[in-house]
């Protein structure tokens, strides 16, 4: 015993580009619950779970992303993983549900800048025009050959949730696109 071990993110080895940023550790929980439990989950989590498809809600440092009719990805500060999970389990005691920790399953890349949407368009087949994909929209989709969750946090700011083993691929494709864009 007495071992103290270091936490190591999936993108820690790649860390340079100017308009791509790897997010640090965060708590991620996948919540599955039927409509009857949404109110209880919202109050336990402190964020109103969006019921409009493909929309994200934020409150403070926490966020809830609608991914399906009974599915939300919940984000919270890394340190709060345990207490957030406990609060949700308590709050949902009467409702059949599934709460699974996925903090280490995926990581996030933030694409920020005036050409963010154009950069994403090299691999994402969705229409990222502000009218078609407004701020606050989120969805599961593909970036080239990597499955991702894409969340528009601002007019020129996107957050990509990606499974950790796909993250270096995603990063390298984005970084290549960024360099192409600068060369043009």
């Amino acid at each position: 015993m007495g071992e103290s071990v270091e936490r190591e993110g999936a993108l820690d080895l790649l860390a340079t580009a100017t308009r791509l940023a790897a997010s640090g550790p965060e708590a991620r929980l996948v919540l599955r619950v039927r409509p009857a439990g949404v109110a209880a989950a919202s109050s336990a989590f402190g964020v109103d779970l969006p019921t409009m498809p493909c929309r994200a809600e934020r409150a403070g440092a926490c966020a809830a992303l609608w991914l399906g009719p009974d599915e939300w990805l919940l984000l919270a500060p890394a340190a709060d993983e345990g207490c957030v999970a406990a609060a949700l389990e308590d709050g949902l005691a009467g409702h059949p549900h599934s709460l699974v920790t996925a903090s280490h399953r995926q990581t996030a890349v933030v694409v920020d800048g005036a050409r963010a949407a154009a950069l994403l368009a090299i691999g994402c087949p969705l229409d990222l025009d502000l009218a078609a994909f407004p701020v606050g929209m989120c969805t599961r989709t593909l970036f080239a050959k990597a499955p991702i969750v894409l969340w528009r946090q601002g007019v020129a700011r996107f957050r990509i949730e990606v499974w950790r083993s796909f993250a270096p691929y995603l990063w390298q494709v984005l970084d290549g696109g960024l360099r192409e864009g600068l060369a043009e």
């Binding site: 015993m1 071992e3 103290s4 071990v5 270091e6 936490r7 190591e8 993110g9 999936a10 080895l13 550790p25 996948v30 599955r32 039927r34 009974d70 599915e71 059949p96 549900h97 599934s98 709460l99 699974v100 920790t101 996925a102 903090s103 280490h104 399953r105 995926q106 154009a118 368009a121 090299i122 691999g123 994402c124 087949p125 969705l126 229409d127 025009d129 078609a132 080239a144 050959k145 990597a146 499974w163 950790r164 083993s165 796909f166 270096p168 691929y169 390298q172 494709v173 290549g176 696109g177 360099r179 192409e180 600068l182 060369a183 043009e184």
Partner: protein, 1005 residues
């Protein structure tokens, strides 16, 4: 100015910026704004290539992407070599190097021209009927020679270093083609505030306006109007204008592929900049404004250098300031050629005669030509031409009232010329419309196939719809853009009229071979220049019994070259229709296929090459394995450590050492790629009861079970250990390769069959790093690192699971074994995977802990007869076939595949069953996949009894072992069978598939 054929003024080239270039090693000069073709013509060079089959000298015929002859190789260095580029589309830059193709040793003296002398022996479809005798000569002699002759241009020998970009794009209105109709459409859509993409294959947008010097639009010279319209579009933030961008493919649901050429026109491109970009556009509405292509006339010897399309000649003169010759004969059936004749005449090119196939040509252009003193010969055809490397003369013959030309090889009048212009009229470019599955209809008035019923949300406008006048094209284009914008839910802009002056509408045209009065069997009148197909060939195909135009096309290869018959399809069709004695529309058109013009492989590949070809998935422990010198193997997208060789070890030695370490001490293995699914909810156990053959209800929390799932047909789909973490929570594992498939199958059943169950599935494959610790000393290594659980022999028996802490990290600890030894699998959150791995390694140092890879894992499990789904099973194995019928819950009423298992055939005694094989020679390792027979002496076909599924050298048994699936195998144990290999037969005896520790005592260490 060194360019002898350059006009003194005019054109869109920049006379202040000369450009040096080399063609076939000879230095020339051109101007910025030239294409390679226009620059060569400015230097009086017409001979630019040799034809595909007969190696005939060929010159520039067209001025755009329809060019069939002037195909060149262009390169900066070998890695960037691009063959078969149309010289008419290659933009000139300083230092450009290009070479002609299909000639040896040189363009002027070509050995392959011998093929021309052999022409009588190379008729259409010659490869189907000659060279078949003697039979063996085909493979040894003829085929290699024909293959050497086939193909045009050469592939680069070095890998392409350039970057190729790709992007998706969305718009309300995509306009393909930037001529007058396309620009008008884009203006209208932009006025309606639509998102617009306007693309054109040329370096400059404008289409026919670029060579227009007389017409005015809204009071402005046409080219001034063009400049203003483009400036207006450039100011629109929602409009994207893409020059040098070919709309090459039109796919379902308005998905259109565009290929943009970004740097090929630059003398010194930024090496970081992509060379091309593939646009994958999803458009709400599409406007096709792809224009029309001029048709050549099919007369004898119509392929000599110096014979070109009339409108192309006009383009060279007007747009590039190049006189394509000094003395011209014009052969036509269309008024447009008179405009070319007049332009050339005014530029000082002598026009010796205009031979018009029509008996009484009339109209303003004909009158103007007559007034200018140009000799017009009505009802006159070209009976032949002379000139080896350049046309020297044309023979003009009168056509009689019956449409036949005066006979004889010397009839008519021979006119000297170095330029022969031809115009058979214009063919609307309906390629993209047809690709989109839109239906074409033959219009007898214009004698053309025109867009009729669209299959997609698209509109055609301008010449591609048979609307030829400038004013009409502008108005139609604007209306199409407006309608498209409105249909896309944007505004419609008020209709714009265009006041056009000075544009003269033209008429006329002909299809098929023209009369010549010579022996039709002896003349070469080319239909398809690029594939060397003559009118004679098309007729021959009909004579030999081909009736469908699709068959005629394939037999003669007409229209099958890289230009896809842009200039030849209509003429070939007309010749076939005459030969078949059927009306042309009845014979029908061949299908248009993408790409409109060739697209480079690089554009399609984009960034998906090298290490980005496919995601390479690595585990959190992968960097450690790499540093430790592991040899890796790819398992699907995953990279896994296969073995860890020490200095001087080969795989055999390393695996032997690793296996012995696990059997005698302790080994450590990265199992992180294992698929994992968290199954949670009050109905979790019921759900698993339905999905797996096993029974789950009575599995206590803290215990695990090896589960097998079937497809509905009763065959094994996947397997894995399932641990019950809580009454309503299971930790399910799957095979590495099956992870996504199993989750999708489960989710499918849940959503479509059992939506009433309160259970949910979440993939946790990547949440957990999995560290397997296997061997008799595994517990001793692990115990000091574990907190929060007693992992002693009694408290933590085989097939148990505990939530605890390992090396200070929250973990799920399984006691499971895939080696037959005492084993643990430590699951920790992935970010801690490497650190915990290293902590265990440190703890195991005193025990000789040995990292091992997938190869050792495979050997260990094979020694124990544990199957691997996908290796022992092939999608046709039942649980009983692989010896797992004991897992099936006896009291279960149903599970996926249960009903199929009750079919009689699934219990037949001669099904292939899992057995072990031992070779007579203990050193002989069988080949996986080898067949097993009872008697190798049986005459073929020898009945196959089964096949080898796994074969290794077993370091534990110090001999070879193998697993196999053999018909009725369990009943044959003890028998001797045979494995035929090339040149020999291996004798094997059948045994129980468990080779080691049959009692399983080692599981407890």
């Amino acid at each position: 100015m060194s360019e002898a054929f350059r006009t003194r003024d005019g054109g869109r080239i920049d006379r202040t910026r000369p450009r040096s270039f080399r063609f076939d090693g000879v230095g020339y000069q051109g101007l910025a704004g030239d294409t390679l073709a226009s620059a060569l013509l400015a230097n009086g060079v017409h001979l630019v290539g040799r034809s595909f089959k007969y190696h005939r000298p060929r010159g520039v015929v067209a001025a755009g992407s329809d060019e069939p002859n002037a195909l060149v190789g262009v390169w900066r260095d070998e890695a960037s070599y691009a063959p078969n580029l149309r010289a008419t589309q290659v933009e000139l830059y300083e230092g450009l190097r290009a070479e002609s193709q299909n000639r040896s040793p040189s363009l002027r003296f070509d050995r392959g021209a011998m093929a021309g002398l052999l022409a009588p022996f190379l008729p259409a479809g010659f490869y189907y009927k000659t060279f078949l005798w003697p039979r063996r000569a085909w493979a040894r002699f003829w085929e290699p020679r024909i293959r050497a002759m086939a193909g045009l241009g050469r592939a680069p020998t070095l890998p392409d270093r350039d970057r190729y970009a790709q992007t998706y794009a969305h718009c309300d209105v995509l306009v393909v083609g930037g001529g007058p109709a396309g620009i008008a459409a884009a203006l209208a859509a932009a006025a309606g505030h639509a998102r617009v993409i306007l693309c054109d294959e040329q370096a400059e947008l404008g289409g026919s306006l670029l060579a227009e010097t007389e017409a005015t639009i809204d009071g402005m010279a046409a080219q001034a109007w063009l400049a203003e319209a483009l400036a207006r579009l450039a100011r629109e933030p929602r409009v994207r204008v893409l020059p040098r961008t070919t709309g090459f493919g039109y796919f379902a649901h308005n998905f259109v592929g565009l290929a943009e050429r970004l740097t090929d026109h630059l003398a010194e491109p930024d090496p970081q900049a992509p060379r091309e970009r593939l646009w994958q556009v999803r458009a709400r509405e599409v406007v096709l404004a792809t224009g029309a292509l001029e048709r050549p006339l099919v007369f004898p010897e119509n392929d000599r250098p110096g014979i070109m399309l009339a409108d192309a000649a006009r383009t060279y003169l007007r747009r590039y300031g190049v006189k394509p010759g000094s003395r011209a004969v014009v052969a036509t059936a269309h008024d447009g050629a008179y405009r070319a004749a007049l332009d050339l005449h005014r530029a000082g090119v002598a026009v010796a005669a205009v031979a018009d196939l029509r008996p009484d040509p009339e109209g303003p252009l004909v009158e103007a030509a007559r007034a200018a003193g140009i000799a017009i010969r009505p009802a006159t055809a070209i009976a032949g031409t002379k000139g080896r490397l350049r046309v020297r003369s044309a023979r003009l013959v009168r056509i009689g009232a019956e449409g036949e030309a005066g006979g004889g090889a010397s009839a008519g009048e021979t006119v000297g010329c170095d330029l022969l212009l031809m115009s058979g009229g214009f063919t609307p470019s309906v390629h993209l419309f047809s690709q989109s599955r839109g239906q074409l209809a033959f219009d007898p008035v214009s004698a053309a196939f025109l867009p009729a019923r669209p299959a997609e949300r698209c509109r055609s406008a301008g010449a591609c719809r048979g609307t030829f006048g400038l004013a009409a094209a502008l108005i139609e284009g604007y209306a199409a853009g407006e309608a498209a914008s409105a249909a896309a839910g944007r505004g419609g802009a008020p209709g714009l009229g265009f006041a056009v002056t000075g544009a003269i509408d033209t008429r006329g045209g002909t299809l098929g071979a023209t009369p010549h009065g010579r022996d039709a069997a002896r003349v070469k009148a080319f239909v398809d220049f690029q594939n060397d197909v003559t009118a004679k060939d098309v007729k021959l195909a009909v004579r030999e019994g081909f009736r469908s135009i699709e068959h005629i096309k394939r037999y003669t290869t007409t229209g099958m070259a890289t230009d896809q018959g842009k200039s030849s399809n209509m003429n070939a069709l007309a010749i076939a229709a005459v030969a078949l004695g059927r009306p042309l529309p009845e014979v029908g058109l061949t299908t248009f296929r993408m790409p409109y013009t060739p697209v480079s492989f690089g554009a399609f590949a984009g960034f998906a090459r090298g290490e980005l070809f496919d995601p390479l998935r690595r585990t959190p422990i992968d960097p450690w394995a790499e540093a430790a010198g592991a040899v890796f193997e790819e398992v699907g997208q995953w990279r896994r450590a296969r073995y860890f060789p020490r200095e001087g070890e080969d795989m055999h030695q390393a695996v032997g050492r690793e296996v012995r370490a696990v059997r005698q001490g302790v080994g450590i293995f990265d199992g992180s790629t294992l698929g994992k699914i968290e199954v949670v909810g009050p109905d979790a156990a019921e759900f698993l009861n339905r999905m797996y053959v096993n029974a789950w209800s009575k599995l206590a929390p803290g215990r695990c079970r090896y589960g097998v799932m079937l497809r509905e047909d009763g065959f094994v789909m996947d397997d894995g250990v399932v641990g019950r973490m809580a009454p309503d929570r299971f930790h399910v594992t799957t095979t590495t390769g099956g992870a996504a498939r199993v989750l999708a199958t489960m989710e499918d059943y849940l959503q479509t069959e059992w939506a009433d169950l309160d259970v949910w599935l979440t993939s946790t494959s990547e949440q957990w790093a999995v560290i397997a610790l296997q061997g008799p000393r595994a517990r001793e290594v692990l115990a000091p690192l574990v907190a929060g659980a007693d992992i002693g022999r009694e408290a933590f028996p085989h097939m148990s699971v505990r939530a605890c802490r390992v090396a200070g990290v929250e973990a799920r600890l399984f006691r499971v074994s895939f080696s037959g030894e005492l084993g643990f699998e430590v699951n920790v959150p992935a970010d801690y995977g490497r650190a915990v791995w290293e902590a265990i390694l440190r703890a195991g140092r005193g025990f000789g802990i040995t990292p091992y890879g997938t190869e050792t894992m495979h050997v260990l499990r094979a020694e124990k007869g544990y199957i691997i789904v996908g290796q022992e099973t092939d999608g046709t194995a039942t649980p009983d076939d692989v010896g797992l019928s004991g897992l099936i819950g006896r009291t279960k009423k149903d599970f996926v595949g249960a009903r199929s298992l009750r079919r009689a055939a699934m219990a037949a005694p001669d099904r292939k069953q899992l057995v072990g094989l031992l070779t007579e020679d203990p050193r002989e390792v069988l080949q996986e996949g080898a067949q097993i027979v009872a008697n190798p002496q049986t005459p073929a076909p020898v009945p196959m009894l089964g096949h080898v599924t796994s074969a290794y050298h077993s370091p534990t048994l110090e001999r070879s072992i193998a697993l196999a699936m053999v018909r009725g195998g369990r009943a044959r144990i003890g028998e001797v069978l045979f494995v035929p290999m090339p040149g020999r037969v291996v004798k094997v005896s059948l045994c129980d598939p468990v080779f080691f520790d049959r009692e399983g005592v080692r599981l407890d260490g």
